[in-house]
Amino acid sequence: MSGQANGSLLETITLTKRYRVGNHLFSRHNKVVHAVERVSLAVQEGETLGLVGESGCGKSTLGRCLIRLYEVSDGRIFFEGTDITFLGPRALGPHRERMQMVFQDPAASLNPRRRVGELLAEPLIVHRRGTRAEIRARVRELLREVGLRPEHDERFPHEFSGGQQQRIGIARALALAPRLIVADEPVSALDASVQAQIVNLFLDLQERLGLTYIFIAHDLSVVRQVSTRVAVMYLGAIVEIGPTDAVLKAPSHPYTQALISAVPVPDPAAPNRRRIILEGDVPSPIDPPSGCPFHPRCSFATDHCRSERPALAPQGRGWDVACHYPLGTT
């Protein structure tokens, strides 16, 4: 395979990540966690793909696999047309600078003992982006870009509020002028009034710099605000992927429907919506259910669902769903 059939910025083919758990070094009885199961997706330049799902569904693991922060167990990743799945550190370097990550907890992702100027200069020095003066100028430009003052480069991370720290995290991701940014729950640790500022910043930067985002979040309304398309994950697999507005308005997968119905609406006068309460918990990814992974919690499940796993395929309304009986098509 020589990648890039349709000019996607990023493409995966049956990307799979398994972990072995248990301490039995030589035993064949080790258990395997299926964190990401055969995910195939394509991300186009300039779009934002939202990744949603409950905790433990594999959305963060997938995000990290996509930019090779985690080693992949199986499958392929193409970035800018190049197969980067198994590239060594040296060969990966030039690709890495064009894909960056923004983390959930800005305080934990910034070294507390270094000044903001140093933190932002580090990637520029590592990748030899100019003289000291040029790097200093770039650092100040980055601070301005994310809405901070250039003279803040002398300060330490703890002197900033949570929202400002996240701005620094974003500036650091922008330092090498990437094309793709994977943002893992970038606003969920922030206060409500600050969340909106950072969401706006993401949208502004995308417009100004033509960035492509993979935006991982559990908050559906935030994902809706930033994403062009949304992918819903359950037990390591994508169960539905399509245009954000269409999917959230009329979901095809029963799990997507349940997820949306659980979001509390900030309107006490709203007519009582039918809430689908999912029974029980997400099953363990060590021993996933047979057939469709959602069948034990699905109210529409049949014997067919229990025996055969549905493939992610177009369902007739223009986007892909992994369900034998997608909603709204029958």
Binding site: E54, S55, S161, G163, Q164, D191, A192, S193, V194, Q195, A196, Q197, V199, N200, L203, H218, L220, S221, V222, R224, Q225, D245, L248, K249, A258, L259, I260, A262, V263, P264, V265, P266, D267, P268, A269, A270, P271, R275, I277, L278, G280, D281, V282
Partner: protein, 342 residues
């Protein structure tokens, strides 16, 4: 509407919590008064540092720092809690007043089973045999919707999922049929699907045990779903308080407006930009002398240099000097469609 005088279960008057620090006295809660009626669910909304958690911790008598000064009056069923000897406070805490904390992992000890921890709590407050306390614990786990409760009682906290653990914590809080439940962000660490289950549980608590609830949250969706009344806190003070429907129909304080405006909608048209509140909440060391929100407020004026009192108009209290006309203009500017006007 709460026309007739309902029996109140909790009366907080001019609660002030301050801390002695190297940089002088810091007021984290500044003159908070609130009344909670029997069977009422009151939501307290605010950002981190707004004083909402300290307010309920004061009710629990859990502000222990030697540098903390708690002043004012907290009456539970007419009985003053501030200054109550530790022995007596312990009898109330976990019994008539119970609390659910945000992080169930830190609220449970990792070295005992869930059943043991609940049974221990029951025996601390009631004359139960070990066997009866254990049976009670299992029944409680069943009542909060834990599948296979007798098996779950034998499990350690780390063996349960986040949602199950939080149910365990709720079961423990319910173990002595509390008249007053204080819940501090009980669903923030949980997925929306589990959050929906927990909110149902809190509603059931009120309908079956007749408990009164103070629910701290920053999620306006949760408020809209569950609360009878809302108090919005900012920088240690209550800046707006109303019945839930009234607050969403006609938010009056610019901070409340900003909070509501900054929520991205889940349906309808998406705004190109969210009307975010500029700036950050003030540090407790530098709370403005007048209206604490003035530095972030688009409508602030010279008069905001004086502290605005919390004034009631038809039961809707606001600490803001803007005229009704100015508020209406602010509303139509910030909220695309008036929330709840359907």
């Amino acid at each position: 509407m709460s026309g007739e005088a309902k029996a109140s279960i909790l009366e907080v008057r001019d609660l002030t919590v301050s801390f002695r620090t190297e940089r002088g006295l810091v007021r984290a809660v500044d003159g908070v008064s609130l009344t909670l009626n029997e069977r009422e669910i009151l939501s307290v909304v605010g950002e981190s540092g707004s004083g909402k958690t300290l307010t309920v911790l004061s009710v629990m008598g859990l502000v222990h720092s030697p540098n903390a000064i708690v002043e004012g009056s907290i009456r539970f069923r007419g009985r003053e809690l501030i200054g109550l000897p530790d022995r007596e406070m312990r009898r109330i805490r976990g019994g008539a007043i119970a609390m659910i904390f945000q992080n169930p992992m830190t609220a449970l000890t990792p070295v005992y089973t869930i059943g043991h921890q609940i049974a221990e709590q029951v025996r601390a407050h009631r004359r139960f045999s070990r066997r009866a306390a254990w049976a009670h614990a299992v029944a409680l786990l069943a009542s909060v919707g834990i599948p296979n409760p007798s098996g779950a009682a034998h499990r350690f906290p780390h063996e349960l999922s986040g949602g199950m653990r939080q149910r365990g914590v709720i079961a423990m809080a319910l173990s002595c049929d509390p008249a007053l439940l204080l819940a501090d962000e009980p669903t923030t660490a949980l997925d929306v699907t589990v959050q929906a289950q927990i909110l149902d549980l809190i509603r059931k608590l009120r309908s079956e045990f007749g408990s009164s609830v103070i629910l701290i949250t920053h999620n306006m969706g949760v408020v809209a779903e569950i609360a009878d009344r809302v108090a919005v806190m900012y920088a240690g003070r209550i800046v707006e308080r109303a019945e839930t429907r009234a607050l969403f129909r006609e938010p009056r304080h610019p901070y409340t407006l900003g909070l509501l405006g900054s929520i991205p909608p889940l349906e309808g048209e998406r705004p190109r930009r969210l009307p975010a509140i500029p700036g950050v909440p003030p540090s407790p060391f530098a709370i403005p002398a007048g209206c604490p929100f003035a530095p972030r407020c688009r409508w602030s004026q010279a008069a905001c240099a004086a502290r605005p009192p919390l004034l009631a108009e038809e039961g809707h209290e606001t600490a803001c000097i803007l005229s009704p006309e100015a508020r209406a203009a602010a509303r139509s500017e910030l909220l695309a469609a008036p929330v709840g006007a359907t």
